[in-house]
Symmetry: C2
Subunit: 440 residues, 2 copies
């Protein structure tokens, strides 16, 4: 999940942000990362925990801030899931070269004038866990709150990039025709928004569909989506779609396809449906076979599933920070890692080249000027050739090829839009990249 | 979970069994293991599966026979769970010494006159997976249906033995006083059946509590239990207890404590509550720290949890067959395994010595004459000193010290009572033990 940044959405988000900033100066400040540390707040501690420390799925308390700072490390306690097996090859060891000079790196956040240190940025971004690789070696690793090296964290929309990658691999193999209509694979979608959309439009999210991800709007379709697929509870008397597939079929076209980038989580779920139809495997199972088992992952990952057992391809991946870093290192190395070519180099190259910038520009992402979106990866088109997977509360896998750097970060930023954490994240990553390049 | 064999319960179960046997001769036979193979039946295959192959938690179809032959290998898809981490020490390798002469071993099932082979017994018992160790080496290993070496299977009441073991370890350490009243640790239970019961009575299940596990009776309290803890769906308009702890508090005393063995799953949940209160840790977390991380388990296990996040200590463990075998081998070796003393030898010795036979005899288990129950383990008191963990659909961890043999078996026997699969299981294990002893 990530916020929709249509022009209107962007305006609304900026307005919300400015309101919050205004409040921050006049009213109680947004509680800080330290104040909302989930270990300090003691969620779910006790037998039973006191009522005010209890998190329940049924009342949605698991999904509120600051409670979700605990839940993101424990989501499988709230809903059904399936295993993404790491295989039996044993972990690919990560060489360690940790260094003490990173916390003090200084940078100026976007739109501000005062500098901030790397260590301060972790707090500013409500970082739960972070692993930085340089030339494949761990130069920085930190766990906060209830996270540990072996804890899987809710990746949210980082999930999309994993399945965009699998989709692009299947296109590369000729098993999916990117120019074909979605309905060639999933005829059930013929009356939906995807009735006349192509697979490529799904992969690059240029489908015109009436579906808003403006989280501040309780009527936005994202809320119907996560009720249908079981990420949030269905209210009493609920009569809407009871599964992911039913929800997708209910969505209608809005505008034209192929004209502009429009970030809509449902495209990833449509891609998941296509992948399952073509391969006969759940996307989590395929992720295990094609990626997780080959990476030398340290731990199993897991996928959240809907009431029909369908993986939430738009946001249901939960993985450890180190394994996310391994995935990033594999991408940095053109698909080759742990002694094998896991993803064809052509697929990684195509992602790095990015999508149509003109499509992306129309979406108005202020923190990603000149960027693009390809196969569900965000491409920055900066001087380092950086590209990223991004989840809505600051989860990210940021790959900087020029600096030979990979940042895997899980976070639980209070507001559901990367526009709020990008200002203290993107320049921090760039400063770290400069620092690592200069010192080697 | 296992059936309650009060005299009345036993009579009802035998009656049900005889009725089924009578039906089997006059009406369609009970479908065989081959006919109900979950891979062959194709549950949950498709995108989406056809309606008649779809299993849902909400309608309870996941928990019916033969559907549960699939569900037992996939239960986390239906409800919340927590991880039982295997640790980062890598797996304890199991040496292999497989031999081809086991399938043909012959034995006579209890109460029958015609012999049966070991291979036939696997079918007769609806075996999903089995690993046999002799002197620590794998002499036999087989996976049926949808099971694989890395698939965790629902262990049901095998769970109890794992937590009985942890409880006994805490008693051994002096952290729990077995002579104390349960209410010393959990005062919330003062008005319940456990108000005047001791910890030892809980550990050995001699508590008098109005709670029936006669699965054939839809009014038996076991059904209220699994609705309260979320293993089965709550019907619309449900107003009963919404958690494990609430359910336990609702149960009242029936008869006297300490007089007779009375198999009641709720005792294990009470033990789980005591353990959590004393250690401050969920039982799954403690199982990871104390056992799973030390065994050199190959895979993480997992625990099913209730809506409050409380582990289902009475039946919620899911583990791989090999890891269950490792647990058994550790018990066979007096608690020492993988280079360390995992469980004090005194604890294992005490379990092997068993409980009071006179208490056990009153429960009338026809297939376990002369047996006893100690710390939630079944002790056979046979010439080999065998003892076992047992789940209600034929899941078992059977340890034969004299034969230096461990059998870890997962099964999905159609009827919920080991009295039905014991006749083709216990003599098979004994015949295998004889065979292994003779050939070495």
């Amino acid at each position: 999940m990530d916020a929709t940044f249509t022009r209107q959405g962007m305006a609304a988000a900026l307005l919300a942000g400015m309101t919050l900033l205004a409040q921050a100066q006049t009213a109680p400040k947004l509680p800080s990362a330290a104040e909302t540390d989930p270990a300090r707040l003691g969620w779910m501690v006790g037998s039973p925990p006191p009522a005010e420390k209890m998190l329940h799925f049924a009342d949605g308390s698991h999904a509120k801030f600051p409670q979700f700072r605990w839940s993101f490390a424990n989501w499988r306690q709230f809903m059904p899931s399936t295993d993404v097996w790491r295989g039996d090859g044993g972990p690919r060891r990560l060489e360690r070269a940790e260094r003490g000079d990173i916390d003090g790196i200084s940078f100026v956040p976007l739109g501000q004038s005062e500098p901030m240190t790397w260590a301060q940025s972790l707090q500013a971004n409500y970082t739960d866990a972070i692993v930085v690789l340089h030339k494949g070696r761990v130069v920085y690793e930190k766990y906060n709150g209830v996270m540990t090296p072996h804890t899987a964290h809710m990746a949210m929309s980082v999930t999309k990039s994993a399945f965009g990658l699998l989709g692009a691999m299947l296109v590369n193999e000729g098993r999916i025709d990117e120019t074909a209509l979605v309905t060639r694979y999933v005829p059930e979608l013929k009356d939906s928004a995807w009735g006349d959309a192509t697979v490529r439009q799904v992969l690059d999210m240029t489908v015109g569909v009436k579906y808003s991800e403006a989280y501040a709007d309780p009527k936005a379709e994202i809320w119907d989506h996560v009720r249908a697929n079981g990420v949030l509870p269905k209210p009493p008397g609920y009569t809407g779609p009871a599964s992911s597939y039913a929800f997708l079929q209910s969505l209608r076209k809005e505008g034209e396809h192929g004209q502009a980038f429009a970030y809509k989580t449902v495209n990833s779920d449509v891609l998941g449906w296509i992948i399952k139809r073509v391969t006969g495997k759940g996307v989590g199972e395929l992720l295990s076979e094609r990626i997780w088992q080959k990476l030398g992952a340290e731990e199993d990952a897991y996928m959240l599933v809907d009431p029909d057992g369908v993986d939430f391809a738009g946001g249901g991946l939960n993985a450890t920070t180190r394994d996310l870093a391994r995935l990033g290192e594999m991408m940095r190395l053109g698909g080759q890692y742990n002694g094998q070519q896991i993803v064809p180099k052509a697929v990684v190259d195509d992602i790095q080249r990015g999508g149509r910038k003109s499509d992306f520009e129309k979406a108005g992402y202020k923190t990603l000027p000149g960027g693009s979106y390809r196969d569900m990866w965000w491409v920055l088109h900066n001087e380092d050739g950086a590209f990223a997977a991004r989840g809505i509360h600051g989860q990210t896998l940021y790959i900087d090829p020029k600096a030979e750097m990979v940042v895997a970060r899980f976070a639980s930023f209070p507001m559901a839009a990367n526009a709020f954490n990008d200002p203290t994240s993107l320049p921090a990553f760039q400063a770290l990249a400069r620092h690592l390049m200069a010192s080697h």
